[in-house]
């Protein structure tokens, strides 16, 4: 049967590749079936490319003012119109993508690193450490996240980088609790006891057994959290607690243009649309990753 022959050829090919490549191709097989996730990936890829090549794509600089040209409706010269200083909104949104994506990625990476570390300490070593760390998470989670980030920015002083730090801190307990609960489960698995029975130490067990078996939910949660981090950054920008005046941060652009919402709605519409697209994109990717990485969904 030609079909079986083909399957055999495929399995043989799979054997010859490295396990890592195999895992990736396995993952891709189930991920590509998920159309919304592919759509989300497309959106985010476009935004990443736009951000990287903003210098070449943007028709104008972010701070090129032309007062005579202010609040122009979208046209061939200014695709997204101009704002109250006559700056080209399209160009500003392109450069704004750099800021927002940077905040999203860095804040989430920061909270993943710190959260994972604390979660492992709490879950693996337990006892007093667990009580202290878990209560710390509870305290952080007891505040509404935006309020907590405002408080942190108020202490550190308003700037985009401080907003980033604040968002990272606020998200630490999300990852901390996730990792802690994974560690508690994986710690009891028989292969961990088996590893200890051949003399493996705590550090090796953590890095060889517990972390690799907890990574999938961290990746999923991380992707979803990039969206919230970008939204939080925009929110802080809107409240004047984030990016400083000339920076084309999307939230800041929204708040600066809110007086013109009736006469020149494009000044609000396009930055808002950019935020929505990026957030939707990351959420779709996150959902797709969850479906593809969850071992229970595999057949």
């Amino acid at each position: 049967m030609p079909q079986t022959a083909q399957v055999h050829a495929e399995t043989r090919a799979a054997k010859e590749r490295s396990p890592f490549v195999n895992a990736i191709s396995e993952f891709w097989k189930s991920y590509r079936k998920n159309k919304p996730a592919l759509f989300g990936t497309g959106i985010i890829l476009v935004f990443i490319l736009l951000a990287i090549f903003a210098n070449f794509i943007a028709p104008q600089g972010i701070n090129d003012q032309n007062i005579t040209n202010k609040l122009q409706a979208p046209s061939a010269a200014h695709w997204f119109g101009t704002d109250d200083f006559g700056r080209d909104i399209f160009s500003r949104i392109l450069f704004g993508a750099r800021l927002s994506l940077r905040v999203g990625f860095l804040a989430v990476i920061g909270s993943i690193v710190v959260g994972t570390l604390l979660g492992i300490l709490a879950g693996y070593f337990g006892k007093v450490l667990d009580v202290v760390i878990s209560r710390l998470f509870d305290i952080l989670l007891a505040f509404p996240s935006i309020l907590l980030s405002i408080a942190i920015v108020a202490i550190l002083g308003p700037s985009l980088n401080n907003a980033l730090v604040a968002i990272a801190i606020v998200n630490v307990p999300v990852f901390g609790r996730l990792v802690r609960s994974r560690v508690l489960t994986v710690k009891e698995e028989e292969y961990v006891v088996a590893a200890r029975s051949i003399g493996m130490g705590d550090m090796r067990i953590i890095f060889h057994h517990i972390l690799p078996n907890s990574i999938a939910p961290i990746i999923v949660q991380g992707t979803l959290n990039i969206a919230t981090a970008i939204l939080d950054a925009a929110g802080l920008g809107f409240l004047g607690m984030g990016a400083e005046a000339p920076l084309p941060e999307w939230g800041k652009m929204l708040s600066d243009s809110r007086e013109y919402i009736q006469n020149a709605p494009w000044t609000v519409l396009f930055p808002g649309l950019a935020i929505v697209l990026v957030v939707v994109g990351f959420n779709l990717i996150g959902d797709g990753l969850r479906d593809a990485l969850d071992p229970r969904m595999k057949n």
Binding site: E189, G199, R204, P295
Partner: protein, 333 residues
């Protein structure tokens, strides 16, 4: 150097308890046994009689809290390891004493290949070995436990293997550093009968080749008959009978052992209802007075409910008034 007849591992009066919200629950209530080099010792008993807790106590792998060794000693080559430091135990584990578990399906890490896990185990105790040498050794180990196409297996993940193959891999990992003692905690319970026989044969073969002592923990007397030279029968955290396998099968000296033997299905005999021991193992700590087996015993006497019998006898010991008073009594066989 140890003499052939010296025990590699000796357990003396081991008591292990679990401290729960309801107070102290004694899981192992003072047991003594020893294993000599190259010997296969069977530990038999029902679920919940303390077999697994005994093995975890020896390995220093008791979940703590709530588990704790509250009394007795464990001597490995004459050295007491019952309260040894974690760093000391880590050196012993794998190198000197290794263990295989009941569930081959869950005792391998699902995210790494067989090769990575086997090589990890070898590296753990031989850090300076070159990479090529480690790989050769892995292939050789897999061949030794009777796995075909060893080279390809190294690149496969646990889920691509059957239960029997995984248990062979576990044995290969446990044997990777030539331990002196191998504790096998119900290694064949989760496998079907033909695979079970193959795994037991493999363990006997490794025992002969490497002279590794094996402690075979099981609830299956058939396994004991096939493998072991000596057997310890445990009931409710205590040893009720101990001796050479043949003696125990031919002349059991404790009604519990007798019951266990009679509840093995007989292929050749007349087909009747299988014998069962009525009731179940008492909750640890619930019986404070008299013989622990008294509530389920067919031959129970008045004094069994009041006094606790001691483990006595020569090579073949038992903990029962019946046999201590009447001497060796031939019971129904």
């Amino acid at each position: 150097m140890l003499k052939m007849s010296d025990p590699v591992l000796k357990v003396e009066g081991l008591k292990t308890s679990f401290f729960t919200d309801d107070g102290e629950v004694p899981a192992v209530g003072g047991i003594d046994f020893e294993v000599k080099e190259g010997e296969i010792l069977g530990i038999v008993g029902e679920s919940g009689c303390g077999k697994s807790v005994t093995s975890l106590s020896i390995m220093g792998l008791l979940p703590s809290p709530p588990g704790k060794i509250v009394g007795g000693h464990i001597y490995y080559q004459g050295e007491d390891i019952s309260h040894a430091k974690e760093s000391k135990m880590r050196k012993l584990r794998g190198n000197e004493i290794a263990m295989i578990f009941q569930e081959p399906m869950t005792s391998l890490n699902p995210v790494f290949t067989i090769g990575e896990q086997l090589e990890e185990a070898i590296k753990l105790h031989n850090q300076r070995l070159p990479k090529k040498e480690i790989e050769n050794r892995s292939v050789e180990l897999l061949k030794r436990v009777g796995l075909p196409r060893a080279k390809e297996l190294l690149k496969e993940y646990p889920h691509e293997l059957s239960g029997g193959m995984r248990q062979r891999v576990m044995i290969a990992i446990a044997m990777s550093c030539n331990p002196k003692v191998l504790i096998a905690d119900e290694p064949t319970t989760a496998l079907d009968v033909t695979i079970q026989a193959q795994i037991l044969d493999l363990m006997i073969k490794l025992n002969k080749e490497t002279n590794t002592a094996i402690i075979m923990i099981t609830h299956d007397l058939g396994v004991v008959a096939q493998m072991c030279q000596r057997v310890v029968v445990m009931y409710a955290g205590k040893i009720v009978e101990e001796g050479p396998v043949k003696d125990i099968f031919n002349h059991p000296k404790h009604p519990y052992t007798e019951g266990l033997i009679q509840s093995i299905p007989d292929l050749h005999g007349k087909k009747e209802r299988l014998y069962t021991i009525k009731g179940s193992v008492p909750k640890p700590g619930s019986i404070t007075k008299g013989c622990l087996f008294a509530p389920r015993c067919e031959f129970v006497m008045d004094k069994c409910r009041v006094n606790t019998p001691e483990l006595s006898g020569g090579e073949h010991k038992s903990r029962c008034f019946l046999h201590q008073e009447q001497g060796r009594k031939e019971v129904r066989t």
